[in-house]
Amino acid sequence: MKNLEESIFLEPATLAEALRFQADEATRGLPLAGGTDLMVQWEAGVRMAPSRVLNLKGLAELHGLSVAGGSLVIGAGVTHAMLRRSPLVRQHAPSLAEAAATVGGAQIQALGTIGGSIGNASPAGDLAPSLLVAHADVEVASVRGARRLALSKFLVGYRKLDLAPDELILRFHVPVLPAGASETWRKLGPRAAQAISKVMGSYRGRVENGHIADFAVALGSVAPTAIRLPQTEAWLRGRALNADTLDGAEQRASAEVTPIADIRSTAEYRRWVSGRLVRGFLEHLASL
């Protein structure tokens, strides 16, 4: 195993400089934001320390948080602590604020970033479901230019992103919670705090005259990436929000996930509880 002491730390002063480092394989570094995933993996020997680390911490371009054009624009360097406290996020994407509040402990929240969480591409990353139900886009850039794509397209597979080696994650565009809609977040972990999820998820939805007008639901830790449940969503659209609908949605959601067994939970429980979470979300929607 390579010692981290031998790694070269690149300290770009601007985004442009960072992108120039990344443009060339000979100077490219592994992007490091809060380091809360990478430091642990290096220390544990699960992942080799790279020859070059690109420290993103000082890049002002990655730190904005604002509302523009009906979306929250969240820089990749925004930390979990900022997400959970920001009045903008709490107003316009409350389930994202709730999710950020359950990531690790206070120290992790102070360092870990939204860009790092998505960039780590773990199905257990707690922020992805809230972004998915809001139909969020991600904006990435390289010296070749910037591009913007739906987060659902960006999350390609287990630990896989639609991100070229020379590209960096710049920011997220999160459509604000529409008037009359609601959303929430729930996480099931092995203990009350500082836990990696067994299953977690978010929904965003709206009821009109007792019928479901819009309903988006996303779950994490039940498939290779955090996923939306398009079949369950389609089945729900336009239905009356009653007991039969809850039963049907629970069944369909359980059938739509493909969880595995691992150290945190069983495939059976994850499958069953996925349906239960969706039922809980519909109950939440009905109670408003």
Binding site: P190, Q194, S265, V273
Partner: protein, 768 residues
């Protein structure tokens, strides 16, 4: 003892921990803080297979071996054996390999990285054999044909005739109960340093519970006499039994390397190594068969108690003994048969962990008692009150409870304090219309204080007190015992006890870290024995030293009139003359030098034990406890929250009520982890949860409201009358929670930990 309660000035006070200040300030020196000039780092080369025969160790010539120091079995000066019970474990495997990670060779190098790198150039040629890895597989084999298993220990307890007992029963209730490994997860990982001494001996310092385990156990391996193996405890960041017998191994690795390379050698495990390559709580399978009469009497208790010992014997027999002695404890029953076994699996040897077999036994017993009550249509409290032991009743080994103690008092008081009967009426029992399921559950239990059986009379714990000039230049007393501070408060309560025995203020009494060069053998810091056994021995020593001082003061200052030492002053009993302790002790030390007094623990002569038949007085005394746990379960997800624990305890006289309560509360949190979340399995021969990321223990947010109260029934055979407190809080929470979960959901979970996954599986099993 003639000492009356009024004589205690410090005993009974919730004084702050004397070692608290240096620990809060970061000044305490732990194993990794000891300066080791010119020291090398040790590294253990381990087996990559779970079972097999080692054919050859190949040291790859591509590495420059002159840069490091290597120890193979050929380099061991004495016998290649860890001198524990069974003597079946080699220090370094040389023929059969019994578990993955078993040490094959040791390497020391100037840097940790070089030592590890050298290790990667060692290749073991091993003829692999199929291993037995899990308790499940072991019990399947046990039910088929136990003789196919490798037995590490066996013992029975027999009272009356269970055949007769079952014949007299109206119904028989059976049940099987399981629990897996548990990791101690002390804050400070294992660590040790060995310094070679100029006289050929070795000086070992490190994180440990029992200096007098390590020193004598290394005699045959190092081929050194006891006086050349010096062991000193550093500050210890938690142990929970994990630093009872295991440190002998890491001390041995350091000592073997240090003696070969003639440099100090240090090994500090990181968390990953510490979880993978140190002892765990023994996994258990228990089968109960209980005979009952319609009116609620227990006529027979038949119990099979089987532990997964891991690869070698180590302390497993003793863990099993404590297990079988607690597996029926607390209840009247004329006919008992307990069959205890420990078998080998090819995993790291299991070892000591707070409770030492008793938590496993009580988990099964107190789950099963609820089942018995339910089979009879009785309430859990009614059945327990009907059958709990009282003064004068006999245990399974025939021990008659002859001193007043907290059974059934703790049970009655906990029931009243928790409002159990009223709250139980509103348990949900899986009500489909409820938004939350509520449950309340009960467990009642005892814990034997001190060593099992004749252990204390064979050991004869010793304590010494040194009257000498302390580090501040004034006279005072150093307590010389081998008992260690590991967070539980030994270094605070011993000065409290000694100060009261002497008639001195606390400030004149110290309890330094034990060093075998200075302290006699008071036994290991285990088995809930330190406060009761060593505490009463220290108290006796203090009274001896007090007499010595009073005699000197009488002769030297009071013309032969009797002197009495109270609060640091000698009073002439006939006049109003006084003399300060400072003046008298200074003069005594000047004239005669430092004074040392010894004392030795003695069991009352009435205590009798037959180790062969397991008949007699299995423990000098018992502590008692009762937990009522309340739980809330979310029917949507089956998530479980323990909301409240109400408990009452008899641990004898409270020496320091604040520390005692801390022991109980901390122990309950550890027991909560065992009950509902701590989970570690075997994957490819190694533990699957090998980091704090995957081995999940409770956080502050998981801790429920706790009510902890005491009733004091002092130990009657030695002042100041404390009994054991260290282990009992670990014993009885899991069954209380399982009983509460049953009341909440209608489902009984019989395999720890109790998780939403198991509740779901149990519901689905019932639905089919």
């Amino acid at each position: 003892m003639s000492t009356t309660v009024s004589a205690y000035r410090h005993v009974g006070q919730g004084l702050p921990r004397l070692d608290g200040d240096e620990k809060v300030r970061g000044l305490a020196a732990y194993a990794d803080d000891i300066p080791v000039p010119d020291g090398w780092y040790g590294h253990v080369v381990r087996s990559p297979v779970s079972r097999g025969r080692l054919k050859k160790l190949v040291f790859d010539p591509a590495f420059d071996w002159s840069r490091v120091c290597v120890v193979t079995p050929a380099d061991i000066p004495g016998e290649n054996i860890v001198d524990m019970i069974g003597r079946d474990m080699p220090f370094l495997a040389h023929d059969w390999i019994q578990y993955k990670g078993e040490p094959l060779a040791l390497i020391a190098a100037p840097t940790r990285a070089l030592a590890r790198e050298a290790g990667s150039f060692v290749r073991a040629e091993i003829e692999e054999h199929p291993p037995l890895l899990t308790l499940r597989d072991m019990i399947a084999e046990y039910k088929r044909d136990p003789s196919a298993l490798h037995q590490l220990a066996a013992q029975t307890i027999s009272k009356g005739s269970v055949e007769q007992g079952f014949a007299a029963a109206d119904l028989v209730v059976e049940g099987e109960y399981w629990a897996g490994h548990q990791e101690q997860l002390y804050i400070e990982p294992q660590g040790m340093v060995a310094f070679p001494e100029p006289d050929g001996g070795v000086f070992i310092q490190g994180s440990l519970q029992c200096p007098y385990y390590i020193a004598p156990e290394l005699i045959v391996t190092l081929n050194l006499p006891l006086e050349k193996i010096r062991v000193k405890q550093t500050a210890v960041g938690g142990a929970f039994g994990g630093k009872e017998e295991f440190p002998t191994l890491i001390a041995g690795y350091c000592a073997l390397l240090a003696l070969k390379c003639r440099k100090p050698v240090k090994i500090i495990y990181d968390r990953h190594q510490d979880i993978l390559y140190t002892t765990k709580r023994h996994p258990v399978w228990v089968r109960h068969r209980t005979g009952l009469t319609r009116d609620g009497a227990i006529t027979a208790m038949q119990v099979d108690f089987v532990l997964d010992g891991g690869a070698y014997t180590t302390l497993s027999p003793v863990v099993m003994y404590r297990g079988i002695l607690h597996t029926t404890l607390g209840y009247k029953c004329p006919h008992v048969f307990v069959d205890g076994h420990v078998y080998r699996t090819n995993t790291f040897p299991n070892g000591a962990f707070r409770g030492f077999g008793a938590p496993q036994a009580i988990w099964a017993l107190e789950s099963h008692i609820d089942r018995c009550a339910s089979a009879l249509g009785m309430t859990p409290e009614g059945f327990r009150l009907r059958n709990a032991l009282h003064l004068g009743d006999a245990t399974a080994t025939g021990q008659v409870l002859s001193e007043p103690m907290g059974t059934p008092d703790v049970l009655e008081k906990t029931l009243a304090r928790s409002d159990f009967t009223r709250k139980r009426a509103r348990c949900s029992r899986g009500d489909p219309s409820a938004k939350k399921w509520y449950g309340i559950g009960l467990a009642f239990f005892g814990h034997g204080s001190g060593f099992t059986g004749d252990g204390e009379s064979r050991l004869k714990a010793k304590a010494a007190l040194d009257l000498e000039l302390l580090d501040d230049g004034a006279p005072g007393v150093n307590i010389r015992i081998s008992s260690t501070e590991m967070g539980q408060g030994t270094f605070t309560i011993m000065p409290q006890i000694a100060a009261d025995g002497l008639g001195l203020p606390m400030a004149r009494v110290r309890c330094p870290h034990p060093d075998t060069k200075y302290v006699p053998d008071s036994g290991p810091t285990v088995a809930s024995r330190t406060t009761m056994v060593v505490g009463s021995t220290v108290f006796g020593a203090a009274q001896k030293l007090k007499t010595l001082l009073e005699t000197y003061a009488s002769e030297t200052y009071f013309g032969g009139a009797p002197a009495e030492l109270v609060d640091g002053r000698f009073r002439n009993r006939y006049t109003t003359d006084t003399q300060s302790f400072d003046a008298v002790a200074r003069r005594l030390i000047q004239e005669r030098g430092p004074q040392r007094v010894y004392n030795q623990f003695q069991l009352p002569p009435t205590i009798k034990w037959d180790q062969k038949t397991f008949r007699g007085d299995s423990y000098p005394s018992y502590s008692w406890g009762c937990n009522v746990a309340e739980v809330e379960i979310d029917p949507l997800t089956l998530e479980l929250k323990v909301t409240k624990i109400t408990s009452v305890w008899d641990i004898g006289r409270l020496i320091n009520p604040v520390l005692a309560k801390g022991q109980i509360e901390g122990g309950l949190v550890q027991a909560l982890g065992y009950a509902v979340m701590e989970k570690i399995g075997i994957k490819d021969g190694l533990y699957d949860a090998s980091r704090m990321q995957t081995y999940v223990v409770p956080t502050a947010l998981d801790v429920p409201d706790m009510i902890v109260e005491f009733i004091e029934y002092p130990y009657t055979h030695g002042a100041p009358g404390a009994k054991g407190v260290g282990e009992i809080p670990m014993d009885g929470l899991a069954p209380a929670i399982a009983n509460a979960v049953e009341a909440a959901t209608g489902h009984r979970i019989t395999d720890l930990p109790i998780t939403p996954e198991k509740l779901l599986a149990s519901r689905e099993l019932q639905a089919t």
